[in-house]
């Protein structure tokens, strides 16, 4: 055929005289059929995937998609005349789908070139294909390289983010707890209190009592028995506090010998008075002999807050602190309970029960 650019005196281009072997090397996934559909040649890689293909395509290649159930030769012929894509399944390997296109030569033969599309990795694994099975123009090596490299980078990334997450959790828990006793520290307590007061919980903010606790005669422990003994005692007191309160309650150490306990859903004075005396007894029971005749004790300031309490965390802590000082001024070793919802001028309850 002459093209618009060819000169008048130029000879028409001769048909491409390619041997089946040369055709197989340049197009290892080709299939050439004669006018009635017999196989004239097939590429070496295609033969590796479809053994016996030289003996015929019927029963080995199956039309898929729009041509499912149709005759394979007819489908190929139609695709070549309409210039459409072909999807061919393998009868012995339903998980591999070949896709390609076909052209009709002037002599009536049909040339198909096929590729793997998304079944590439399955085909490589199933037929153990190698670099030599693909022509140098094929991007298959780049694809496999990218696939494996991406997998490596992704697993490295997820390892890193898991590592970060663990570190973040550990840093958070350290930032919110007291290094000596393992109770919450001031920051942890403020956050826990803010969470309790936060509106928007399904049943609204729940009632609670906040106990501020200060040890009486703790300084002599440090002075006479040493700071190590003092620290050991603080750890013991913390353990005792944890054992005295319930699972859902929270205990914090704000520094020195100052502790705070949050008792959830407990605002009844009788219950609080019993809890207060249990705490005071637990502290007194741990009084070291080395400070006799003095005796370790605890002064408590307790505030109760019903669900509707509109005070912030700082105001509640300040109120508990004031209640604590009333207990201290009343001679230590006692508890003062104040109802924050009752408003100014309410009568606080005071005393050892």
């Amino acid at each position: 055929m002459m093209t618009a650019h060819s000169r008048k005196d130029a000879a028409p281009a001769a048909a491409l005289p390619l041997s089946p072997d040369a055709l197989s090397r340049i197009l290892p996934m080709h299939l050439r059929l004669d006018a009635v559909g017999r196989v004239l040649s097939a590429g070496q890689t295609l033969l590796k995937i479809v053994p016996g293909l030289s003996d015929g395509v019927q029963g080995r290649l199956i039309p898929l998609r729009a041509h499912e159930g149709r005759d394979v030769i007819e489908t190929v012929r139609q695709a070549s005349s309409e210039g459409r894509r072909l999807f061919l399944g393998l009868s012995h390997r339903p998980d591999i789908v070949l896709r390609g296109h076909a052209v009709k030569a002037e002599d009536g033969t049909i040339l198909l070139n096929l590729g793997f599309g998304p079944s590439l990795r399955r085909a490589i694994a199933a037929c153990d294909l190698t670099d030599a099975d693909f022509p140098p123009t094929d991007l298959v090596m780049e694809f496999l390289f990218l696939h494996e490299a991406n997998r490596g980078v992704l697993s490295e990334l997820s390892r890193f983010s898991a590592h970060l997450e663990t570190a973040r959790r550990m840093a958070l828990s350290q930032a919110h707890s007291d290094a000596l006793t393992g109770l919450l520290n001031r920051r942890g307590l403020t956050l826990a209190l803010a969470a309790l007061l936060r509106p928007g919980q399904a049943e609204g903010p729940r009632p609670f009592a906040l106990v501020q606790l200060d040890l009486d005669h703790f300084k002599p422990v440090n002075d006479r028995l040493g700071h190590q003994a003092g620290d050991a005692l603080l750890i013991e007191i913390a353990t005792a506090l944890r054992q005295t309160i319930r699972q859902a309650d929270m205990a914090a150490r704000l520094g020195g010998d100052e502790f705070v306990v949050i008792l959830r859903d407990m605002t009844c004075r009788e219950q609080l008075a019993r809890m207060a005396s249990r705490i005071m007894e637990a502290v007194e029971a741990r009084s070291p002999e080395g400070i006799a005749p003095l005796k370790l004790g605890a002064s408590l300031g307790i505030v109760t807050c019903q669900g509707a309490c509109r005070l912030g965390a700082e105001a509640i802590l300040a109120a508990a602190d004031r209640a604590l000082y009333r207990s201290k001024n009343a001679g230590r070793g006692c508890a003062t309970i104040e109802d924050l919802d009752a408003g100014v001028g309410s009568n606080p309850w005071q005393g050892p029960p």
């Binding site: 990795r121 694994a125 153990d128 496999l144 490299a149 991406n150």
Partner: protein
């Protein structure tokens, strides 16, 4: 990207010299930084590598060669490198494509430009890198890959370049390489 490099160095030191040595290095670095304890070498992998070289009485270049050879022994890395060629000579000639391939996956990785020249009886790899430590790393890597392909050759520094004399392409069997990582993982032979 530096994080990845530091972690590679740390992993090399852990696998070669053990976790205890890495902890000693981490303590040393922590002291230099003001005492905040650390259990990894993040941010100072190269510095740690140089410290170990001094402790092991190795030259800096030997240490960087070791890490290159170690990289070539890691299965995922070795596989990626094997995609560059079907025999050792092919692999060497394909090294020019290595920076491009690395950038496909990690665009920020500073891989040096490599130029391959065929000389009579040898192949010369010209390394254009700002960091001179790349040369010994690549020497180690190329040596490791020569073993992987089973090639017998002489690989050495030649000024800033690398000179490879291949004596026998198929001296030894070389390690198994299949395109499919699934088959490779099973170690299966068809």
């Amino acid at each position: 990207m530096k994080r990845l490099v530091d972690r590679t160095i740390e992993e090399f030191l852990r696998m070669t010299y053990g976790d205890d040595l890495v902890q000693v290095l981490a303590d040393e670095l922590a002291l230099q930084e003001g005492g905040l304890p650390r259990d990894d070498l993040q941010g100072c992998g190269k510095q740690a590598l140089i410290l170990v070289a001094a402790q092991m009485a190795k030259s800096r270049a030997e240490m960087f060669e070791d890490i290159g050879a170690w990289l070539a022994r890691l299965e995922p890395i070795r596989r990626l490198l094997r995609f560059s060629g079907n025999d050792f000579r092919d692999f060497l000639l394909g090294l020019e494509e290595l920076p491009g391939r690395a950038h496909l996956v990690l665009p920020q990785l500073a891989v040096p430009d490599l130029t391959i020249t065929r000389l009579s009886g040898a192949i010369q790899i010209t390394v254009r890198a700002e960091d001179p430590d790349w040369q010994p790393v690549l020497i180690g890597l190329v040596r490791g890959m020569a073993d992987d392909y089973g090639a017998l050759c002489l690989i050495d520094a030649d000024g800033p370049d690398i000179r490879v004399e291949i004596w026998d392409d198929r001296f030894a069997e070389g390690r198994n390489f299949r395109l499919s990582s699934e088959i490779a993982a099973q170690g299966g032979r068809a």
